[in-house]
Amino acid sequence: MASTVHHNQTHADVTRDVVATLGTPGRGYTLLLLGSVACFLVGLVTFLFLVKDGLGLAGYKPPVMWSVFITTFVFWVGIGHAGTLISAILFLFRSPWRTAVYRATEAMTVFAVMTAALFPIIHIGRQWFFYWLLPYPNQRWLWPNFKSPLIWDVFAISTYFTVSATFLVVGLVPDVAAARDKMTGWRQKVYQIFSFNWKGTQHQWQHYSRGYLYLAALATPLVLSVHSVVSWDFAMAIIPGWHGTIFAPYFVAGAIYSGVGMVFTLLIPLRKALKIEHMIGEYHFDNLAKLTLLTGSILFYAYAMEYFVSWYSGNTFEQTTFWRRAFGPMWWAGWTMIICNAFVSQLLWFRKIRTNLTALFVISIFINIGMWFERYVIISSLQNDYEPWAWGQMGPNWADWGILLGSFGWFAMYFLLFARTFPVVAIQEIKEMIPMPRKRGAH
């Protein structure tokens, strides 16, 4: 408990410090924000071109019908997972170290899913008919095909977005109220609205804490399901290299791994910028790093299994695929993924590294890159499936990179806005950790 909260920190301190992060932004922040908006605009323009002239602008080379877009889609969905894991699952486990970091990670989740949700629209051939994927009543009397993993995606992603967004907002209410009570003038009015007139009466707390618990309980299986569903986009297909039973757990582990990676990338600079080092400290990163180590090792195992199974199956299609992953024309991608994910994560066995923020930050960059490439490599299985005559190479081009860049801009934009507008540290949950002062001393 001691290390959760900075020693001799009072309730008032917590409120003060956190509310302090909501002040007017400095130049650095503004530049960052503008930068991310610019990136987003690049993506937007690229998208408009895709709609105008057709997907052909992107570097698609049959038989690889999916490329960077789906890669990035899966990447962002994955990022989301760490957030919900920390905020929901660790909440159920009453894990003390989560309180300081969960708000930021959960925000990350919501924005990551928002980013991911763009891709199903971007990557289809006739974007303007996207709504055909939804089961809405229409005069044709046509319904979507619920057997298609893509429809599962639609449901999984939209559910995931709604639920995690709700979870975030609900969690925010008391803290926004706290902020409100420190504010003056128009700010106060604004926060008053977002606090839904929260007062903190015993009745409010009674229903609130219960409801919050149930939300967490619902979100928990959701996290596990969403990336399983995404993994089935591949696993349900018959493509060698995709058609694997371990995909669901393997993807979920990967998702959390990549998510935590992103948490490092975001929090390490953030805590400095917002001067909340004393709230988010070594202790938290150490635990996060352990989580990374665990999921990283699961990935290690999964990779090993994939190769073993393909060899052991004696199935020539599988064998070819994995041989080419390691030694084919895209060997570099294959090894990037293995090194960044399976090997780099093993460094975290050492406490020294787990507690060295610079090291963690560097590693987190490797993780992000590695996990993007994992999806890229998986999709590259399409290059050499059953029909040798149709084999080909994938060749991303400016359009692919434009969209990728745009997605990062879009994500960063929202995250930055959030960090300055809402408490990135859960005020009331931290306070819960600090014992109330007593008149008659502690008993």
Binding site: I151, A177, W198, T201, L218, Q428
Partner: protein, 170 residues
Amino acid sequence: MAAKRVPGVLASFAHIDAACDAIRELRASGRKDFTVYSAFPNHELEQALGITTSPVRLFTLIGGLTGTTAGFGMTIWMSRDWPLLVGGKPIAAIPPYVVIGFELTILIGALSTVAGIILMSLRNPTTGLAYDPAFTDDRIGIFVPGSGEQANGIHAMLDQAGAMEVRQNA
């Protein structure tokens, strides 16, 4: 909205045990209509107040079940409404529909939970009750409606229980 202010006594405590004492006394004196403010949920307070489990869980349950039925109902009905054979699979195949059923369970379950929180909280409106910004910071507040002589009695009692400050508003 400028609702008319409820007359009563508002005490603000810095010490949890003091607050609990006060609450116990109030309950002992047979009062239930008072309001306790705190910046975070606190077990001692809950015990002192004798809080019961919130009925929100019912919303979650019913919402969830609705979701499940909706999920399976929709998929199966829609597949049969215009039967189309794909990949030699049964027209209405259960395994793939489990996904939809599950997602809707979560979705509707979660939404109805939130609805529950809101509906339930509305049953004890806070409008017009005296309030102090410190209550979301580090103070615990107790507001007891009442006026005149009765109010003075409460005032004394709260003071004596160890409130940092007590004020009456008519």
